[in-house]
């Protein structure tokens, strides 16, 4: 009997290829292509007065040099604003190549195409661009004061402004027995996948067709955008995401300027063209996230129950707004986590600065929201002298209140309505895992040894698996091979394995026979992309539905052949048999042959389907009116709303009393992503997510100076954690299946990252005894904080806590 694959820690089917060097990432392709390099702005804000390419033209091996003047039609227009939203007051996007002005360091100005990258870079160095400098706007403070403008026609540097309110916050705060106000700050970080972006374009002038490979999280999105920019019929453009070396959000943004320019140049030059991003380009010319300044005012009763929550925040969106306001909307809505605020008002301003653009990075605005909410919970506990877990638990939405409508509009334009979750159970598991109740004793013991330790906690809810849809296509070949295609792309999440697990179960075949293709518009032209932890939810359900359609068809054909009722049939290990009479059987591969009536016998198995083979009913057409030839099926999964995964993390940190070095001693995760297709893969997603969270909490930041120069644009200076910085992660799971989809799945991809900054801040605060309001935090900053608080203690009493009313 076929063993059920769903829920098993099945080893990944993609791995043998990848561990032996047989992966095919973008730069592994197109070895005969011309290569492109870009002249990028070294200035954050300037008008371009001249571009002199003379000296570059005679570099041997240079094929062409392009500036904005060379672009024509829509390719010369501004790039699209991908996600329009009514809150956008001044939506500005850039050009593929800068026209007239540049708004951040790294903005592309000229494109050099040459026989190889070395030559292209030689030539790029000889291009002289003249500038007239404009005052750069860097940092939220400068953006907010609006004295200098990034875009002349965006007053106050405001790109978007949104206010949402549920209940009556004004009155709730006025009536609350306690209120607190917290000023909070989170700095910029970035996805920095190990493989940067990259594009390969192959133009077939005979067929007038474009084949595009991009290291992207959305091949259908890139295809449509490039077709529009190049004025090509969609049918003449195909886009494939090859193996992709990590994404984490930055590759959902599209079309990148290079995704327009490389195919544009390939068509113009009638030659394959490739561009592979280098690390410095990735730092300055792709996207960042996280930077926000927040102000939270909270009203609560004597038990620590929320009465009203008033949040205002300022979001740094960088030089342009191509991805709209998805990130701040998510912050505004997901901030609430597992809690009931009673009355909630949130207002944000999304601001332009002369820095790299801001688009979603794993967690996508949630880490900031979680930070705001969880800092608030800790502040309430501190104010009332209550246990921090207890305050949280008093504010939880209870399982019996599910589905729970928060009354807000979510990032997909649909209600923020939690479908499932058992927060008290999650908290109980977390407390057990980390030893919450024993921590006081542990701390005492540590203190007796002169050590400083702290325990931190953070809870979150994550809307995952947002629509609009994904599709699945399942095709059984006459060999018994099962081809599965879905349109969303893969950057390491193991889709080839989990989707094969699902189809193997649904269809009753061996997983070894199932072959999954993702992100190839030739195989599945309708798709959205991989973001918002939606892969397993959306494509998992889509391929399950498609497999069910194929199964039904196979049973119809087999029932006919075996002259039994469909209900009496089962499929196991690729064989359809009569229940209780295993000898009456037919192989799925044979059914595949029979499903496609043939005239020609191209191989041995095909003979059985030719017109003189076997008997048939002469009154019926070979393909019934409501059937199609072939054993294949397609279906789409389109949910009415997102599913809501959740989790709770706790950490124990130790801070060095002298050097202020911060060490994570333990890191514990409770995670509920609904039913789990492959626990090994989910665990891996959690590990990776936590590691990125730790980077964001303790090490990573984008160090822009006041002129808009990114001072740490290399892996030498941007401190991405090595194994030596990442703690061992302890996990436990809770499965509350989503009632919203056939498989009960909720997403898992981003979960690990979301609460880490909040948790580490909470733990450091607990160790140090003063509030942590700004993250990330370095030993140096902690040391400064210690001094400031010691000084404050000496000069004023009592302790400097929040202003309270």
């Amino acid at each position: 009997m076929t063993t059920r694959q769903f829920g098993q820690p099945v080893l990944r089917r993609e791995d043998p290829r990848l561990v032996t060097g047989n992966g095919r990432y973008l730069d592994d392709l197109g070895h005969t292509a011309y290569e492109a390099a870009f002249v990028r702005s070294p200035h954050a804000h300037a008008r371009i007065t001249d571009i002199d390419v003379e000296g570059a033209l005679d570099v041997e091996g240079v094929v062409a040099i392009f500036t904005h003047e060379d672009l024509e039609g829509p390719a010369a227009d501004r790039l699209p604003l991908l996600i329009p939203h009514p809150s956008i007051e001044a939506g500005r996007t850039g050009h593929a190549l800068a026209k007239d002005d540049v708004n951040h360091v790294g903005e592309a100005i000229a494109m050099v195409v040459a026989t190889n990258r070395y030559v292209a870079e030689d030539a790029a160095q000889r291009i002289v661009v003249s500038y007239e400098f404009l005052p750069p706007v860097v940092g939220i403070e400068n953006a907010r004061d609006g004295a200098n403008l990034v875009h002349d026609d965006a007053p106050g540097n405001v790109a978007a402004h949104l206010l949402q309110e549920v209940g009556d916050v004004e009155s709730a705060l006025a009536a609350a027995p306690h209120t607190l106000t917290l000023d909070l700050d989170i700095e910029r970080s970035a996805c920095t996948p190990m493989e940067g972006r990259g594009v390969l374009a192959q133009w077939d002038s005979d067929e007038q067709r474009l084949r595009l490979h991009s290291s992207t999280q959305t091949s259908t999105g890139v295809r449509a955008a490039v077709a529009a920019k190049l004025q090509l019929p969609l049918s003449q453009v195909e886009c494939i995401a090859p193996d992709v070396g990590g994404g984490f959000g930055v590759k959902i943004m599209h079309p990148w300027p290079e995704e327009v320019l490389v195919p544009w140049a390939a068509r113009r030059l009638d030659h394959d063209v490739k561009w592979t991003e280098d690390r410095r380009e990735h730092f300055t010319a792709s996207a960042h996230e996280r930077g926000q300044v927040q102000q939270v005012t909270v009203g609560f009763d004597d038990d620590g129950r929320l009465l009203g929550l008033d949040v205002r925040f300022w979001h740094d969106n960088g030089a342009y707004l191509p991805y709209g306001v998805i990130v701040p909307i998510i912050t505004a809505t997901q901030l609430l986590g597992p809690y009931k605020p009673q009355n909630y008002r949130v207002e944000f301003w999304s601001l332009y600065t002369n820095t790299a653009i801001v688009t979603p990075y794993r967690g996508a605005g949630r880490p900031q929201g979680c930070f705001a909410m969880e800092r608030t919970m800790d502040a309430i506990a501190a104010e009332l002298g209550l246990d921090r877990a207890e305050v949280r638990s008093r504010n939880f939405i209870q399982p019996e209140e599910m589905p729970f409508d928060q009354g807000l509009m979510f990032q997909d334009g649909r209600p923020l309505k939690y479908d499932s979750g058992d927060f008290p159970a999650s908290l109980a598991k977390l407390k057990a895992l980390v030893g919450w109740d024993d921590f006081a004793a542990y701390r005492e013991e540590a203190e007796s040894q002169g050590r400083k330790v702290g325990l931190g906690i953070g809870c979150y809810v994550e809307g995952t698996g947002v629509g609009p849809y994904e599709g699945g296509h399942v095709h059984v070949e006459t060999s018994g091979r099962v081809n599965v295609a879905t349109g969303l792309t893969t950057q390491g999440q193991g889709h080839q394995t989990i989707l094969a697990q699902i189809v193997a179960d649904e269809l009753g075949v061996s997983i070894d026979d199932v072959h999954v293709t993702t992100g190839d518009t030739r195989r599945m032209p309708y798709a959205v992309g991989t973001f918002a932890s939606r892969g397993a939810v959306m494509s998992g359900n889509a391929v399950a539905l498609a497999a069910r359609a194929v199964r039904a068809k196979a049973l119809r054909i087999a029932a006919d052949a075996l002259e039994v009722a469909e209900e009496d049939l089962q499929i196991e290990d690729g064989t359809i048999s009569v229940k209780g009479a295993p000898h009456a059987s037919i192989a799925l591969s044979t059914v595949a042959v029979m499903s496609n009536p043939l005239r020609y016998a191209f191989d041995e198995s095909a003979k059985a389907a030719t017109q003189f083979a076997g008997t048939f009913d002469p009154d019926k057409p070979p393909v019934a009116d409501d059937e199609e030839p072939g054993l294949e099926g397609k279906d789409f999964y389109s949910p009415t709303q997102a599913t809501f995964a959740n989790g709770m993390h706790a950490a124990i940190v130790e801070t060095d009393p002298v050097t202020a070095e911060i060490k994570i001693l333990r890191y514990c995760v409770i995670h509920d992503c609904g039913t789990v297709v492959n626990p090994m893969i989910v665990e891996g997603q959690v590990h990776g997510g936590v590691a990125q969270g730790v980077g964001g909490a303790l090490y990573e930041r984008m160090a822009y100076d006041e002129t808009g120069q990114l001072l740490n644009a290399s892996f030498m200076d941007f401190l991405m954690p090595y194994a030596s910085e990442i703690p061992h992660i302890e996990t436990d799971h809770l499965e509350t299946p989503s009632p919203l989809n056939p498989l009960g799945i909720k997403g898992a991809g981003e979960a690990g990252t979301i609460p880490v900054t909040a948790v580490i801040a909470s733990a450091i605060e607990d160790a140090e005894g003063f509030p942590i309001r700004s993250m990330p935090i370095s030993p140096h900053e902690l040391w400064d904080l210690r001094r400031a608080h010691a000084h404050a203690l000496e000069t004023v009493s009592p302790t400097p806590t929040e202003e309270s009313a």
């Binding site: 990848l18 032996t20 990432y25 070396g245 590990h687």
Partner: protein
């Protein structure tokens, strides 16, 4: 790059995975580009081009080296082993096998650099502790896995190595 470099070429012979390859290259050509684009052994990856991430690590005369920090010409007459030389899909090397068993990779981009690094490490230290395992991989960046399963894979690789060395005793893998 200066003009002097351009146009000047030299012949270089490098032995990669046991096969001697001769190519005419510019002296400035990086060993990583030589391996990837001239020999088309694209398993060796480039994640930073400045010697920090370790994705481009190959074994040079058995020692792990960052191929983005070497010129092809300086590898003249040296024996290079890339990830392709450490096993095939049907006959994976111990480290490769361990990565599969331990879910030591997600996107796989960093993996070749870890596989080469760890291969050299367990050669030197056939029975490492978990602390030594973590230490051994602390010069390579991975953005996907959080390293926990890579640490596990180091220990498992050492174990597979030992099992393969004494096939009679080799029991069921843990």
């Amino acid at each position: 790059m200066t003009d002097i470099d351009q146009g000047t070429t030299v012949d270089v012979t490098v032995t990669v995975n046991g096969i001697a390859h001769t190519r005419t290259v510019e002296p400035r050509r990086l060993l990583s580009d030589f391996i990837r684009h001239d020999l088309r052994l694209t398993g060796t990856h480039v994640g930073c081009e400045h010697g920090v991430c370790g994705a481009c690590t190959v074994l040079v005369d058995g020692k792990p080296m960052r191929s983005c920090l070497m010129f092809a010409v300086s590898a003249e007459d040296m024996e290079i082993t890339t990830v392709e030389g450490l096993g095939t899909q049907d006959a994976m090397g111990p480290v490769q096998q361990a990565f599969v068993e331990c879910h030591g990779l997600q996107c796989g981009f960093c993996t070749p650099g870890f596989v080469t690094t760890i291969t050299a490490f367990i050669e030197e230290n056939p029975d490492p502790t978990s602390e030594e395992a973590r230490e051994a991989i602390s010069g390579n960046l991975c953005r996907c896995t959080g390293y926990q399963n890579i640490c596990k894979a180091v220990l498992r690789a050492a174990e597979i190595n030992r099992e393969r060395a004494t096939p009679t005793e080799g029991g069921d893998p843990a």
